[in-house]
């Protein structure tokens, strides 16, 4: 019973989409938790534009089952009634739960590693209804998969990632499939490559993009409801030992959005706080 409850909690929570921890705040990245490490992220995210603004909060819990496999749970909350296009790269009202597996891990020198991580998560409708056309749909669960690869070093970081989310149909309604992608470059200036008992800063440029398909409403595909958007902006990550604070802002560089249905987003921002609890558990000899 206890196991079932724990499993239900994991399934009821998580996100494969929202990056944070000590990676980028908008884009996909490869880091996973250490073995037995707990991570806790919480943040505030905003989308503002022609149809008012929407804020969401999100809290993510992660646990490192092995050095390369992490379980995640994500619990969001949204505020505001803005009608914006579907997004999966940015936290919205769904609860998600899943796992991230770092399947490629090549450590080539001091401070440098190349890696690739895949994530799979169940997406479940949260208690809050979306605004606009998405709010008219009967809600159903979905499945989200992401893939990210890149390298980390003392000086620079580069991550490329992509994700795909598909929702089930419910009563002839279906949320649109979403394809998302990101490229993130990070840089830590030479004079900030200091000891770990001092604040560690890095700046990042995050490019993200999303394409959503058409909405299906009462067994009819609603032509022209698909969207394509591209976003670009800077973020800054500050870390002290096991505490990280990160903030970023993005502006649109392309918005292929039907404005009669969805609001015209002008800006996105995110502020995230992370706490990492590493395990002191040592193997007995």
């Amino acid at each position: 019973m206890k196991g079932l409850l724990l499993f239900t909690c994991f399934v009821a929570l998580t996100s494969a989409a929202w990056a944070a921890d000590h990676g980028p705040v908008f884009g996909y990245a490869t880091p996973v938790n250490s073995q037995y490490e707990w991570s806790f992220d919480t943040g505030i995210f905003g989308r503002a534009g022609s149809h008012c603004a929407q804020f969401s909060t999100g809290s993510q819990l992660g646990y490192g089952l092995t050095p390369h496999l992490t379980l995640n749970a994500f619990l969001p909350g949204t505020f505001g009634s803005a009608s914006f296009p579907e997004t999966r790269i940015y936290p919205s009202g769904e609860w998600t739960a899943g796992a991230s597996w770092r399947f490629l891990h090549s450590v080539t020198s001091v401070g440098r590693r190349t890696e690739a991580t895949g994530s799979l998560a169940m997406v479940l409708p949260g208690p809050q209804k979306e605004a606009g056309v998405l709010g008219q749909l009967a809600r159903a669960p979905g499945l989200a998969g992401t893939l990210a690869t890149g390298f980390a070093s003392r000086g620079s970081y580069l991550w490329l990632g992509g994700g795909y989310t598909r929702f089930a149909q419910s009563g002839g309604d279906q949320r649109p499939d979403t394809l998302s992608w990101s490229t993130v470059y990070g840089y830590r200036p030479a004079r900030l490559r200091r000891g770990y008992d001092q604040w560690d800063y890095r700046g990042l440029i995050e490019f993200t993009g999303e394409h959503t398909g058409n909405v299906r409403l009462r067994n009819t595909v609603q032509a022209g409801t698909g969207t394509t958007t591209l976003w670009l902006g800077p973020s800054v990550l500050a870390i002290f030992k096991n505490i990280a604070i990160e903030g970023g802002v993005q502006g649109p560089i392309y918005r292929g959005v039907p404005q009669s249905i969805d609001g015209r987003e002008a800006v996105r921002f995110a502020i995230n706080f992370s706490y990492l609890k590493y395990s002191a558990h040592a193997n007995a000899h």
């Binding site: 073995q35 001091v110 590693r113």
Partner: protein
């Protein structure tokens, strides 16, 4: 009472020459940021007998100082690196143990642990005559080994009788 005092006095020299690691300087690859170093610090401190840990992100060097009487093993240090997703390379160690074998084929037994190393010199071989069977302090290097393994050979810089 007299017997207890006598026994304590007899045990004192032995306490000063326990078989154990005194200092391990391990090169770790893959640590890029502060949480990486903090994770290694926490993991190493979780090993019983570890007194002090210093992590240098720019050189990848993790220096572990150990308390006297510890029973920490090389496998524990390596496992602490592996569980954080990093790779351990070579390690410089200062260890106290019993010198066995022959002067031509010596080995070091760190009897407080199960660790056991064949010894080879890094330069001119040391004169080990008279040290066989004695407790010695060895300073040297252990090569990188695969995950979950412990090196078989220690390349020594110096071997002196433990005080």
């Amino acid at each position: 009472m007299k017997k207890i005092v006598l026994l304590t006095l007899l045990m004192l020299p032995a306490l000063g020459a326990l078989a154990e690691y005194r200092k391990v300087s391990l090169t770790v690859f893959g640590m890029d940021c502060a949480p990486c170093a903090h994770a290694i610090h926490v993991s190493m401190k979780g090993i019983r007998g570890v007194d002090k840990v210093d992590v240098d992100l720019n050189t990848g060097l993790v220096v572990i100082q150990l308390t006297q009487g510890n029973k920490a093993t090389m496998q524990q240090f390596n496992a602490a690196v592996e569980k954080n997703g990093f790779t351990h390379k070579d390690a410089k160690v200062v260890a106290v143990g019993k010198l066995g074998g022959t002067p031509a084929a010596p080995y070091l037994e760190i009897s407080g642990t199960a660790d056991h190393y064949a010894l080879s010199p890094s330069g001119q071989p040391a004169d080990l005559t008279g040290l066989s069977g004695k407790t010695v302090t060895v300073s040297g290097a252990l090569p990188q080994v695969a995950k979950g393994k412990v090196p078989e050979r220690l390349t020594y810089d110096s071997i002196v009788e433990a005080q």
